[in-house]
């Protein structure tokens, strides 16, 4: 682990050269600790609206930890702490959102392993609406259908909405989890290796879905799969040992990376 702090100037950030992109989230000087163990060092990143931002890097580099700071999921782990600021459209998510559940309705999350609730397909999608106080059954039913259509799952499940979500295949379950996250109309969707447990066909369906979703949402995706990052993302941030080594336009990162470490990683010399 790096014991010395790396100053912001050391981080190559070529996305600042791209003008006219609205910034959805901005992360400044973020350090993150599990107890006394520091996991993230001086993270500085802008997330551009309606783009897919990919976070890549070897296992244990802090990319998932970073993703979970963005909707404050790390708050549930005792002993963690964070310094620096993370803003969602100018609002500090750690200091200006006293209610983390309100924040999480704006920033949704899809996990590595599909984790549908042991409930019906309908109830899975409706869950987020219900816990956030929507009681009108007609509104819920309409939202469920609309959301499932957005996730391209409607045709596959419309006849078995009241059946258990466990009856779906792995890929369908993961798309159900994406639909579940979409139902509460978030602005940003965090995806933590959403396709890592899926077969190639299901993976490509998820990737198509991501490409479609970015029209309306801002997406941040953690992935171990270089090709996937190259295929789906607009911007890529390369994490290494808790530090962002390089960020920028995905094409540039994958063709002309500035840092040697980045090149070594994307060409498969380590990781």
């Amino acid at each position: 682990m790096h014991k010395t702090k790396i100053s912001v100037d050391n981080i190559v950030d070529n996305q600042t050269f791209i003008p006219n992109y609205p910034i959805k989230m901005s992360i400044r000087d973020v350090d993150f600790f599990y107890g006394s163990q520091q996991a993230l060092y001086n993270i500085h990143l802008d997330i551009i609206e309606n783009q897919v931002t990919a976070l890549i890097g070897p296992s244990g580099c802090g990319k998932s930890t970073f993703l979970r700071t963005l909707n404050r999921m790390n708050d549930t782990i005792p002993g963690t702490s964070l310094t620096g600021t993370i803003q969602l459209e100018g609002v500090d998510i750690y200091n200006d959102f006293s209610d983390t559940s309100m924040l999480r309705t704006k920033i949704g999350m899809v996990f590595q392993k599909s984790n549908p609730f042991p409930k019906s397909i309908f109830e899975n999608v409706a869950y987020g609406l219900k816990v956030n106080g929507i009681k009108d059954k007609a509104i819920i039913a309409e939202a469920v259908e609309e959301t499932l259509q957005k996730a391209y799952l409607w045709d596959e499940v419309k006849d078995k909405l009241d059946k258990s979500a466990f009856l779906l295949s792995g890929g369908q379950q993961q798309r159900l989890c994406i639909a579940r996250a979409l139902a509460i109309q978030p602005e940003v969707i965090l995806m933590d290796e959403p396709a890592s447990a899926l077969d190639p066909i299901s993976t490509s369906k998820i990737e198509d879905l991501i490409a479609e979703l970015k029209k309306n949402y801002t997406i941040i995706i953690v992935t171990h799969n270089m090709q996937q990052a190259a295929r789906v993302s607009d911007t890529t941030a390369f994490f290494y040992e808790g530090v962002i080594i390089e960020t920028g336009d995905t094409k540039k990162i994958f063709t002309k990376p500035i840092k040697q470490k980045t090149e070594d990683y994307i060409t498969g010399r380590f990781g």
Binding site: P78, F111, P116, F117, Y127, V131, N132, S164
Partner: protein, 318 residues
């Protein structure tokens, strides 16, 4: 490289070891079976022995009997009377009342404690609560019975003004104390074994801690909690020492929970030592034992079936 010579394993020792373990298992199974057979066998004369049937039959145990002609017929358990009567109803009511009170007392405390300990308590707090509650099950039931007889009964009578110091409420609460750790431990295990990924999913959808617990964790853990409650009920029915000491041991037919009671188990424990071997009374006590066994067997079976159904429903597959 040096050639490795592997040693041949002894087939004989393997054979002996395997058979030895199998014998152990079958001895345990045989012991259980033999005990059941013995208990049922001792109860059987009620169904065929003429001498015993003069005194007691199944019908006499169920229908009201009078002490003598012209006297009012009643449900009464009076095995040592000149005209012994063996009505099961007072004992059945007593057993039921004690178990109901025990469950009413133990379910909220056991399940509530498990929810608190598994979901809301800090790690430190949990490390105190869990062993403390589980220690309750280590207390010998005679000590709990003694406590109920001396301390609890007086306290309850002074607080609520019960006519009878020893009653079903007193016995039920003491009985509940033995059931709480059972319900707590099984429920707690069920709650903590719900995958954290489900809680994460709910949190990420904007649910708060309470919603996560009530809408995701609790439903998923329900089969385990139900199992704990069923096993607790089985324990409450069979438990002997506490009810023997703290219930007042009066076999009366009454719907009031403030009256004294007598249970099946306490009846067997208190009367079997003095009964004439082979008499009608002796057979009836074994008949009670058989009933007790059947009750707990049916309760556990029902519990199991409910559990399997619930599990199927929760884990998909309709």
């Amino acid at each position: 490289m040096k050639n490795l010579t592997f040693k041949k394993k002894s087939k004989f020792i393997e054979f002996i070891g395997e058979k030895f373990i199998a014998v152990n298992a079958f001895v345990a199974l045989a012991a259980v079976l033999l005990i059941f057979i013995f208990i049922f066998k001792e109860a059987l004369p009620i169904f065929y022995d003429e001498y015993i049937q003069e005194e007691v039959t199944i019908e006499k145990m169920i229908v009201k009997q009078a002490f003598a002609e012209g006297r009012e017929a009643k449900f009464s358990w009076q095995p040592n009377s000149d005209n012994p009567r063996y009505s099961l109803l007072p004992l059945f009511i007593g057993t039921l009342k004690a178990s109901i009170i025990a469950m009413l007392f133990a379910i909220p405390l056991g399940v509530g404690g498990a929810i608190y300990s598994s979901q809301f308590a800090s790690k430190r707090m949990r490390e105190i609560i869990k062993p403390a509650i589980e220690m309750l099950s280590g207390i010998p039931s005679v000590v709990l019975g003694f406590f109920a007889l001396i301390v609890l009964a007086t306290f309850l009578q002074n607080t609520f003004g019960f006519t009878y110091r020893l009653n079903s409420i007193n016995a039920g609460i003491a009985l509940g104390l033995t059931v709480i750790p059972l319900i707590f431990t099984i429920s707690e295990d069920a709650l903590t074994s719900v995958p954290g990924s489900l809680a994460d999913a709910a949190l990420a959808l904007g649910a708060n801690k309470w919603q996560v617990t009530s809408t995701v964790i609790l439903p998923a853990a329900l089969p385990g909690i139900a199992a704990g409650i069923v096993l607790g009920f089985g324990r409450a029915i069979g438990e002997t020492m506490i009810v023997l000491m703290a219930s007042g041991n009066a076999a009366i037919v009454s719907s009031a929970f403030t009256d004294s009671i007598r249970t099946f188990s306490a009846t067997i424990a208190s009367e079997l030592a003095e009964v004439v071997f082979g008499s009608a009374h002796y057979s009836v006590l074994f008949f009670l034992g058989s009933l007790l066994f059947l009750f707990t067997f049916i309760i556990n079976m029902t519990g199991d079936i409910v559990l399997i159904r619930l599990k199927e429903k929760l884990q998909g597959g309709k």
